[in-house]
């Protein structure tokens, strides 16, 4: 059994990162030019890493499946980005941000990693501001802040409801600067099909050129995955519809452990599903809960128009259940509370699967103009999609699959269990435990890419300076390419009747019903069987028109869905294994009498890192015990 080594530096919490940097090995500028790095993905994590590494002088090859790096799904993040600047004098600090994340993650994240991301958060804001990211400002010219769920300070920087777009475009600009200098080469419309391992180290990738269909080999001294999360496993989610887990899954099959795969964040405030044709759920930013109040009617199946329901007949259930945090409880808590109200018959709208998010009081108090200034584009978006004007009538919202806290297991250096393979941003598991707090995702992705990875990857590459450029005609590349081509041929040869999307929808439904907001042993076991059956049907009856020598979007989808079947099994296995409730992982068997998550710290205070054992074989569980030396482990309460 491989022993997981998290490589957490010794020393006091606040000094670990400084000590690490002091002791890390460096690569001199002349040698950097001789070292190649592959970065997969151009979201905030990938683009920030590629540009920061390019600035240092490495030869970077950056890949994305989109036609331009600017389209990666970080672009859609809405509400904001956290930093411990304490510009509001409201008691914030690096420690407080760290503490909020540890508690928000329900004591299932690694202390040292979380402290480090809180530590670099301020550098991230300085950098973005210098890059011309137009964050909101107050009249003195300084940066403005707002509040997000699960915290009692205002530490979130924002650019209306388009903070992700602004941060990503800022990062896309830094990336372009490196492209202009020749340190970064961009490969867009390329999808990674496999990771190549030579002598136990990650040395390259096999990619499919999505325009010509050509299978290409690319080599490097190190490979960085910044491929995002796997929320589209539910088919309907807040993610871009082409987001996928294939690169991370291929890395897992080549030996990278996958950590806490069942930890998935279901975001409480998405526009509810309206019909069966729907391909996507659109998020309404958590920032709206600063001013919006969530409620349902006090009477079951109340079909009255919301504006006709008098104040005393409304149940502001979050304010009622959680008076200390009210509408700003963390996402997992808010999602479960909405589900509870809808499951017991208090839900609204035609399906009964929705609750109200009401701005009436905020508009009365602050005026329509102030609300428009803060959330204008979100209100507009809601109006376009639903045809309902949220200035006049409350929004209807319901939880939707959003973010995956689980991901590739990484050590303190953000390196996976495959030497030379790094995972950053949402694709790793490291900073959010069992639940991510709002506005922490932009912080983590850019922190990883700009300020952490450049140090840790150099520490690895310092030992690689004598290795010349890796040849792509090595047998390992040959073999990997052969396997990739064979799978494509196999998919095309099925010639069945059902589309990849129809399978994806059915898989998503199984996962949503049994491995979504709440889980139980019976349901999970049932889901496992259903996924297996569906996977067999997929390999017998999939329809892909056309061939592999051209743009073939059906082939692209099919490859992603094929990988999702396998990942779904691992998610279910992980959810079955964790016989406790923590954060977003809610096992119905383990709850308090009030319906709150009931942790079992004695048995489950560990990261579950799964090792691939072969197709249809039980994966091997490795436990990384979590130790809390700097915070007291408590029952997480927002009451």
């Amino acid at each position: 059994m491989t022993k997981l080594n998290s490589k957490i530096p010794e020393g006091p919490l606040a000094q670990k990162w400084s000590l690490y940097k002091q002791n890390a090995k460096l690569v001199n500028p002349a040698n950097k030019k001789k070292l190649d790095i592959i970065v997969v993905g151009t979201g905030l994590a990938g683009a920030s890493a590629a540009s920061a590494l390019g600035e240092l002088g490495y030869n970077v090859k950056n890949f994305c499946y989109q036609d331009s790096p600017r389209r990666a799904h970080s672009v859609a993040a809405q509400g904001g980005i956290n930093a411990a600047k304490n510009y509001r004098n409201d008691g914030d600090s690096i420690y407080r941000l760290f503490y909020d994340m540890i508690k928000g993650g329900d004591y299932r994240a690694r202390e040292a990693n979380v402290y480090r991301i809180a530590e670099v958060s301020n550098d991230v804001i300085d950098h973005f501001t210098a890059m011309g990211v137009p964050f909101a400002r107050d009249y003195g010219g300084g940066l403005d802040n707002r509040s997000f769920g699960g915290v009692q300070v205002s530490r979130t920087f924002y650019a209306k409801g388009q903070t992700g777009q602004q941060c990503l475009l800022g990062t896309y600009a830094t990336l372009n600067r490196q492209v202009s200098k020749g340190t970064v080469t961009m490969y867009s419309r390329r999808e990674v099909q496999d990771i190549v391992i030579v002598d136990g180290r990650a040395r390259g990738v096999i990619v499919r050129n999505l325009i010509t269909g050509e299978i290409e080999r690319h080599s490097a001294h190190a490979v960085v995955l910044a491929t995002g999360g796997y929320g589209t496993i539910y088919y309907l989610s807040t993610l871009a519809v082409n987001s996928n887990a294939s690169a991370a899954w291929k890395a897992h099959k080549k030996g990278a452990y996958f950590a806490n795969p069942s930890f998935v964040q279901i975001h409480p405030t998405s526009i509810p599903q309206l019909n069966d044709y729907q391909s996507k759920l659109t998020l309404m930013s958590e920032s709206l809960r600063n001013d919006g109040r969530i409620w349902v009617p006090k009477t079951k199946n109340d079909k009255r128009h919301p504006n006709e329901i008098p104040e005393e007949e409304r149940d502001y259930y979050l304010e009622r259940r959680y008076p200390a945090f009210g509408n700003l409880v963390p996402r997992d808590v808010a999602s479960r509370a909405a589900k509870e109200r809808c499951d017991t018959g208090y839900g609204v709208g035609s399906t009964g699967l929705a609750v109200y998010l009401d701005f009436k009081d905020a508009i009365n108090k602050q005026g329509k103009k102030a609300i428009e200034h803060k959330y204008g584009n979100l209100f507009e978006l809601y109006h376009i999609i639903t045809g309902i004007d949220p200035y006049v009538e409350p929004m209807r919202i319901y939880p939707a699959g959003h973010y995956t806290m689980g991901g590739l297991w990484v050590d303190y250096e953000l390196q996976t269990t495959i030497p030379g393979l790094f995972a950053i941003g949402e694709s790793n598991f490291s900073d959010h435990g069992a639940n991510r707090l709002g506005a922490s995702s932009l912080m983590q992705t850019s922190g990883d890419g700009y300020f952490i990875l450049p140090y840790t990857i150099s520490n690895y590459l310092a030992d690689q300076i004598r290795i010349p450029h890796i040849p792509t005609d090595a047998p390992e590349f040959e073999e990997a390419e052969k396997v990739v081509k064979e799978r494509i041929e196999k998919l095309l040869a099925i010639k069945g009747k059902q589309t990849a999307t129809s399978f994806h929808k059915r898989l998503g439904r199984i996962m949503w019903d049994y491995c979504g907001m709440s889980r139980n042993e019976e349901g999970l076991k049932k889901a496992f069987g259903l996924v297996k059956e569906l996977e067999q049907e997929f390999w017998k009856d999939l329809a892909i028109p056309g061939d592999e020598k051209n743009i073939n979007q059906e082939l692209e989808k099919a490859g992603r869905v094929a990988d999702y079947f396998e990942l779904a099994e691992l998610m279910i296995t992980d959810a079955l294994n964790r016989k406790e409730s923590c954060g977003a992982h809610f096992r119905e068997e383990y709850q308090t009498p009030e319906g709150e998550a009931l942790r079992n710290d004695d048995e489950y205070m560990y990261v579950a890192a799964w090792e691939y054992a072969g197709k249809s074989k039980e994966p091997t569980l490795h436990k990384e015990k979590l130790e809390y030396k700097f915070v007291e482990v408590k029952v997480r309460s927002y009451k």
Partner: protein, 246 residues
């Protein structure tokens, strides 16, 4: 609902394309345009035919991937939205809907409705950035910025790079796109240092790539899904001329 779809089909960049007309009767008014296309593609696949290739990703109006020219308008007949937000309730039962790719010399068609927009990346690579290294930034609040400037810079920065402005323009000009980026940086103190070089390089690259001239028809502003204002073009022209005379 039943519609007639007149769609541009083109096998690849080299092939000669043509319009093909199809009847599709499984349209629901609550579908988005792309969901209608998904359902239509499912029908084609079931009939053993190749589905229509089109770019799309976030489906929430922010990534800028979707790019269909519908009934003579980029992103269709409703203003201020992208194709992914266009609802089928804006079309009539029995209507003929014409769907084309963006048409511009600098955006060659790759397949069906997919075009190559890498020319936009190249313009940005030419100078659409602030040359500040990671780690070199001053404390964020050390440079105050007027709310008015920050808000105006934000308004310019919301461009999603979809290319609708180019597709709408009879000259296939990229002035709105380029001027939005030039303006965002020109309005902020952080961007002033390189303002002169930036505008010169970006404009030169734009001209090189075969985008046309601006003749003030304002079609770009009218069709921009993010309502980017043509005042950006005026600002870029000022920046450009002052760069040339300084």
């Amino acid at each position: 609902m039943k519609v007639k779809l007149k769609i541009w089909r083109q096998e690849n960049a080299e092939a000669k394309g043509s319009f093909q007309t199809y009847t599709f009767d499984k349209v629901a008014p609550e579908m988005s345009f792309l969901e209608m296309m998904d359902a239509f593609n499912t029908q084609l696949i079931t009939e053993g035919k190749e589905p229509v290739a089109f770019d799309h990703d976030c489906r929430e109006g922010i990534c800028g991937a979707c790019s269909m020219y519908i009934n003579g308008h980029p992103h269709g007949p409703v203003s201020g939205i992208t194709t992914c937000h266009l609802s089928m309730r804006h079309f009539k039962d029995g209507e003929t809907i014409t769907v084309e790719p963006w048409r511009a010399k600098a955006f060659p068609v790759i397949k069906d409705l997919i075009v190559d927009r890498s020319a936009f990346d190249q313009i940005q690579i030419a100078g659409g950035f602030i040359s500040m290294n990671v780690g070199g930034a001053p404390e964020a609040n050390s440079i105050p910025v007027k709310v008015k400037n920050a808000d105006e810079a934000f308004d310019s920065s919301v461009c999603i790079g979809c290319g609708a402005c180019v597709a709408a323009c009879k000259n296939a000009s990229a002035m709105l796109f380029v001027s939005a980026k030039v303006s965002q940086f020109a309005l902020l103190p952080q961007g002033r240092v390189e303002a002169k070089e930036r505008v010169e390089k970006m404009v030169a690259k734009m001209d090189d790539l075969g985008f046309g001239n601006c003749t003030n028809t304002y079609a770009c502003e009218a069709e921009c899904p993010k309502d980017i204002s043509i005042t950006n073009i005026a600002r870029m022209n000022r920046e450009f001329f002052s760069a040339k005379v300084s």
